[in-house]
């Protein structure tokens, strides 16, 4: 997981857990499936300058996978998400609940059941 050590509760959506560029890359891959680098820069409207380094980071962190394709002698990357959105949500939720239990013990558990009762 990329930046799960730094959670910004006040941010919106996925940027609570990821940097804005990481979030928009993951969102695009989750919505539209696998795509090439140029398709990614078009869809996210983020210049290659910012996307290239972030893609390297996401691949290294195991969030996205890429394979090299050779089309008519031209090389290109094709990216795809490693986890589905559901899998990522489960992993993030588990980590946060674990850290709440770690900090507050039984008090946290009490609040979990109150929270699910309310729903």
């Amino acid at each position: 997981m990329v930046k799960l050590d730094q959670i910004n509760i006040s941010n919106n959506g996925l940027t609570k857990f990821f940097s804005p560029i990481e979030a928009s890359i993951l969102r695009t891959l989750w919505n539209d499936g696998e795509m090439t680098t140029s398709e990614l820069t078009e869809k996210t409207k983020i210049p290659l300058t910012s996307v290239a380094g972030t893609l390297d980071r996401l691949v290294k962190a195991g969030y996205t996978a890429r394979r090299m394709e050779n089309v008519n002698g031209r090389v290109r990357y094709v990216y795809e998400p490693v986890f589905s959105e559901e899998e990522a949500a489960t992993e993030i939720t588990t980590k946060i609940l674990d850290s709440l239990v770690d900090a507050f013990g039984p008090l946290a558990r009490e609040n979990f059941s109150k929270y699910s009762d309310k729903k």
């Binding site: 090439t36 140029s38 290239a52 002698g73 031209r74 090389v75 290109r76 990357y77």
Partner: protein, 226 residues
């Protein structure tokens, strides 16, 4: 006096002097710093550790000079050994730096993705072309190898790639003719007259691949980096 009696004298002085642990300490520190400067990845950290290693060696030599009551020749030998060893080391690292980069980047021969690249470079100089896994468009030469990232292969067309390869091939062709101090400047990552070298490499690349291909390659890569 021959060097053996010098060493003998050094042993005696070493036992008598209170400087002795000091010298040993600084020699150990300088070797550790030099090893660290080869391992570290960030240019700034490398530069700092490299310079500190030099300072530690100079302190060790100065301390040896004070320590020698009976003869000063050993200081001279030590200094000579230091100069010889560091010169050999610098040239060896520059010559074999590509091996380090191949394993660090997990680079693979470019022949498997674009068969023309190796033949094209063979006509200009004797160097191997490698590609490595990164989306960031990058090309550089080290030792007798040219490295290009997959990001660069994605971004540029064949003519533009030829311009980039010719530019890097020029660097390799001229590495042996680059004066020693420039080599040292590259080694320590301080850019003394690098822009002049880059300009000459560009002139060569423009002659081989055409000025248009070179400038469009430049503008594509510059757009990414500026």
């Amino acid at each position: 006096m021959n060097i053996l009696s010098e060493l003998n004298c050094f042993g005696t002085c070493f036992k008598l002097s209170s400087f002795a642990p000091f010298v040993a300490l600084f020699v150990v520190i300088s070797i550790a710093l030099l090893a660290a400067s080869l391992m570290l990845k960030r240019p700034k950290q490398r530069l700092i550790t490299f310079v500190s290693a030099q300072v530690a060696v100079i302190v060790a030599i100065a301390a040896t000079f004070y320590l020698m009551n009976c003869s000063y020749m050993l200081t001279f030998y030590l200094y000579l050994a230091y100069v010889v060893i560091s010169t050999v080391l610098i040239f060896a690292v520059l010559r074999y730096y590509d091996r380090i980069m191949i394993s660090r980047l997990d680079a693979k021969p470019a022949g498997s993705v674009m068969n023309w690249a190796q033949e094209f470079v063979d006509r200009l100089t004797s160097a191997k072309v490698y590609y490595f896994d990164s989306a960031v468009p990058k090309a550089f030469a080290a030792g007798r190898s040219i490295f290009v990232s997959i990001g660069l292969l994605e971004l540029l067309n064949e003519d533009e790639l030829k311009a980039v390869l010719a530019h890097e091939a020029w660097h390799i062709r001229n590495n042996s003719r680059t004066p020693y101090l420039k080599q040292l400047a590259i080694m320590t990552f301080s850019s003394s007259s690098e822009s002049e070298l880059e300009h000459m490499a560009d002139c060569f690349a423009a002659g081989i691949a055409g000025r248009e291909a070179l400038s469009s390659a430049r503008s594509k890569v510059d757009k990414v980096f500026i």
